[in-house]
Amino acid sequence: MSVSDPNHLNESEYVESVRRERKRSQYQSAILSVIGILGFLILWQLSLVTGLVNSRFLSSPIEVVSLFITKLTDPRPDGAVIGANIVSSLIVALSGFGLAIVIGIPLGLLMGWYKGIDSFLRPIFEIIRPIPPVSWIPLTIVWVGIGLQAKAMIVFFAAFVPCLINSYTGIRQTREVLINVAKTFGASDFTTFLKVGIPYSMTMTFAGVKVAIGNAWATLVAAEMLAASSGLGYMILMGRQFGRVDLVILGIAVIGLIGTLITIIINAVENKILGWRKL
């Protein structure tokens, strides 16, 4: 009974060779990614330098970077430095997103596991689910104004749905035989829920969280464009009003970069919890 070793390597040699192989392919894909991004930026810059695209409609990456540096200290023209806009947007996005995780995931898990809760809540959820999150904007303005709460609420609606659906679907897919293992060991239904159902659902749940952060970010910008006095969405809107293409592009780029950063953080948490899949 030994692990299979096709080339008659002993175990440590085999592990070493696999590790080397993996490292090499990681290195390769890192290089390719960097080339991809650089290539994109160069093409972008070239298209403007050569006059292929009119600079009234698009500003170059170099201009955007220099505007970013200026905006670090200069609140013009939209009224806030870039840092303040980022913080303002992040607070809204993360509070809505956090709330969606804290409420959506447990609710999804409970609905997926307990039939009664499912029958009780699912009809309401099915009605709320297809409503586009931005259609709540007028109502929330009436209810709570245009402050943090209003925007967080809209973001919450957008992020809540994928959190709930994925944890719900994930836990319902729990393999029957694993539930039976716990039951024959004498586990109560609640223990089985905790020790079998929840761990089983985590793969799907994390996929939902990633969709949710995307939705949250997208909705945030929409919310800020309609009802806000600061934030990245607001900055983009001001850029449009002042005819400042560079400001609009800066807003878009910053949103993209922060979204990527958040995804990296979520992936790290996922690797920590679902690390067993990769080994």
């Binding site: 024959t184 004498g186 020790k195 067993w276 080994l279």
Partner: protein, 250 residues
């Protein structure tokens, strides 16, 4: 069957199961002594798995019941273990955590768990793999962990549902010997379901032969060959042939 109550570890009385109109099991009664190894054989699709699922209380019987030490069996009170036909290790737990799972559910205290899990790890020779995850191991290795997980709880009744259905002959012999070793070492009471008559004769002290649906016990065959058993000895072949003739599913 006329023996006094309390003499048997497990008593199965008039076990009957209907799924809607489908009559799967018909009035099955038998007894198991403490530490006995019983094999259940029968034609394919005769309800062997249903029979096991009734014993573990995954399904409730339509009629009849299962008694352990004279009390109606209850997974919360009695110590039951089940080795399922399909892979059933928890993919998110390491080998060692999988082995601990049942004991933790039963709230055994930690020192006791450590000790029992250590001994089963060394009995199965799993030291190198204790921190591996099941998907990193071969199918047969993963199945051994499941068998270890079942034995480690020191069950009143251990049920095994064709655990070696997917294995080739060589592995099968190796794992069968391992089960025998664990059984002898730990003195568990085992009910082992198989459709392989050779396996049944190799393992069992007593073989229960089931009939076609609705299944009932056709015959009990006592196998009193010495261990380790030789599958080619005339006595072995004779019993195997007899059991096979009784099943005749082809």
């Amino acid at each position: 069957m006329s023996k006094a109550k309390g003499e048997y570890k497990v008593e199965v009385k008039n076990l009957t199961k209907y799924f809607g109109d489908l009559h799967v099991l018909d009035d099955i009664s038998f007894n198991i002594k403490e530490g006995e190894f019983i094999c259940v054989v029968g034609p394919t699709g005769c309800g062997k798995t249903t029979f096991l699922n009734l014993l573990t209380k995954i399904y409730e019987p339509t009629k009849g019941n299962l008694f352990i030490d004279g009390e109606p069996a209850d997974p919360k009170k009695h110590n039951l273990s089940f080795v399922f036909q399909e892979p059933s290790s928890f993919p998110w737990l390491t080998v060692e955590e999988n082995l601990r799972f049942g004991l933790e559910i039963k709230n055994v205290d930690k020192a006791e768990i450590d000790e029992r899990v250590e001994s089963i790890i060394s009995l199965l020779g799993l030291e190198r793999f204790r921190n591996s995850y099941p998907h990193q191991l071969s199918t047969s290795m993963a199945q051994r962990i499941i068998i270890g997980r079942a034995f480690v709880t020191d069950p009143d009744l251990l049920l095994m549902d064709e655990p070696y259905g997917q294995m080739d002959v060589k592995l099968r012999f190796y794992l069968e010997d391992e089960v025998i070793r664990l059984w002898q070492e730990l003195g568990s009471t085992v009910v082992f379901i198989t459709h392989n008559t050779e396996e049944a004769v190799y393992l069992a002290e007593k073989i229960l032969i089931l009939t076609n649906k609705p299944a009932t016990i056709k015959e009990e065959v006592i196998v009193d060959l010495p261990r380790p058993r030789d599958v080619t000895s005339p006595e072995f072949v004779e019993i195997r042939k007899y059991v096979t003739d009784q099943i005749k599913w082809w």
